[in-house]
C-alpha cells in the first residue's frame, strides 16, 4: 500500500535517517520505535504526505505520493503529535466540527456515541479547556470509532493515557488490523498490538 524507497530526511542541520526502505502492506501494522528526537514524527509526517522527503521517494499504491494526494487523504486518518482540538469548544462540538471540516460530516448522536464508547460520556458537554491532557487525547482518539478510513497513522497515541485508556487504544488498533485496515504508529515505549506487525527501529 505504502512504499518508501531510499528515504532521507533532514531536520534543520541534523540528518535523521537516510536510505530507508520500507514496504507497508495492506492489512499490516508498522510500529516505528526509537528514542526521542530520532525522527519518528518526521517519518510519520512523510508517510502522511505532510512533509516532503529530502531524498528518495514515497509511493502510495504504486504512484508517487504527490500525485496520489487526493486518494491518500480519502483513506488516511492521521492523529498527530498535537491533539487537534479547540479549547473553547465542547468535546462533542469538536468532534462534529472536525468531521465536517474533513468533509465527512457526522451528527451529534454519532459523536455522543463515540464518546460513550471511549468512556468519556460524562465530559462530553464540557469545554475541552476543562479537561486533563489524557482526557483531551482520548477525545481526539474517539475519532477512531466512527471514521471509516483504512489507513491509520498515529503519532505517540498513548501519551498521557492511563492504563485502561491505553489498552482501549491498543484494542482499537488490533481490531482495525483484524478488519483489514492498515496502521502505522510510533511510541518510545513498547506497544502490544495483535496482528501482523513489523517493527521499524530508527535513530540507533
Amino acid at each position: 500500500m505504502l512504499e518508501a524507497i531510499n528515504l532521507t530526511c533532514v531536520r534543520g542541520e541534523r540528518r535523521l535517517f537516510h536510505d530507508l526502505n520500507v514496504h507497508v502492506e495492506r492489512g499490516s501494522g508498522l510500529f516505528v520505535q526509537g528514542p526521542n528526537g530520532s525522527g519518528k514524527t518526521t517519518l510519520l509526517r512523510v508517510f502522511g504526505g505532510l512533509t516532503p522527503p529530502c531524498g528518495g521517494a514515497i509511493l502510495w499504491n504504486g504512484r508517487p505520493i504527490q500525485l496520489a494526494r487526493d486518494d491518500l487523504r480519502r483513506k488516511l486518518l492521521y492523529c498527530g503529535h498535537l491533539i487537534g482540538l479547540k479549547d473553547d469548544l465542547t468535546a462533542i462540538e469538536n468532534l462534529v466540527y472536525a468531521a465536517a471540516l474533513a468533509d465527512e460530516p457526522i451528527s451529534n448522536a454519532i459523536a455522543q456515541e463515540a464518546l460513550k464508547q471511549s468512556g468519556l460520556y460524562e465530559i462530553a458537554d464540557l469545554p475541552v479547556r476543562a479537561l486533563s491532557q489524557g482526557q483531551k487525547r482520548r477525545v481526539s482518539l474517539a475519532r477512531l470509532c466512527y471514521l471509516r478510513r483504512s489507513f491509520w497513522i498515529l503519532d505517540e497515541p498513548l501519551t498521557a493515557l492511563d492504563d485502561a485508556a491505553a489498552q482501549w487504544v491498543l484494542d482499537r488498533i488490533s481490531r482495525h488490523l483484524n478488519e483489514g485496515g492498515t496502521a502505522i504508529w510510533t511510541s518510545h515505549l513498547p506497544m502490544a498490538v495483535a496482528g501482523s506487525i513489523r517493527t521499524l527501529r530508527i535513530g540507533s
Binding site: 472536525a98 471540516l101 474533513a102
Partner: protein
Amino acid sequence: MMQSLGLAATYAVIRRDLGLAMRRKSDALTPVFFFVIVVSLFPLGIGAERDTLRQIAPGIIWVAALLASMLSLNRLFEEDHADGTLEQLMLSTAPLGMLVTGKVIAHWILTGVPLLFVAPLLALQFDLAPASLLTLATSLAIGTPVLSLLGAIGASLTIGLRGGGVLIALLVLPLYVPVLIFGAGAVASVNAGLGAESHFSLLAAALALAAFFSPLATTMALRIALE
C-alpha cells in the same frame, strides 16, 4: 472520482470560526475599538479645522481600516497551528483553497463588516456629506474583503514566527496600497462632486483578482509553513 467542492466543509469552517469568536467576544471586538481610537487621534494631532478634516477624512478612515484589519491577521492561522487543527484542515479531502477562503470570509465578517457600520458614524465627526458617507460604506464593503484576502497571504507565510504581527504588517501593507488608493479615492472623488464609478470598478476588479489568486498563494504558503 470527482473531488467534492467542499462547500459544506467551507460553511463549517465559517461557522466554527464565528462560533469561536463569539466565545471570546473581547478578542473579536478589539479591532473595532482600535479603529475608533485611531480615527479619533488624527484630529487631535492635526487640529479641528473643519475644511481640513473633511478633506483628510477618507484617507484617515481608510488607513485606520487597513490597520484594524491587519491587527487580527496574526490570529488567523496561529491558533489553529498551535493546537493542531490546521494540520487536520490540510489533511481534509475538501480542497484546501476552499477551506482557506472560508477562514478569510470569517475574518472579514469579524473585522471588515463591523467597520461598514462604524466608519460612517465616525465620518460624521469629520463633517462628511451623506453622499460621501454612502460612498465610504460602499468602498469599504468592496475593499475590506480584499484586505482580508491579501492579509491571509501574509498570515500564512509567517505562521509560527516570532515578531509575527509587525512582520505581517511589513509584508502586507505594500500590497494594500492599490486598495487604499481606490477606496479613499472614491470618497474623495464624491467629496469633490465627481462620481466614483471608476474607483468602484477598480476596487471590484481588485476583489476579483484577489479572490482568485489569494487562496492559491495562501495554500502554497500553508504547505510551505507546515512542511
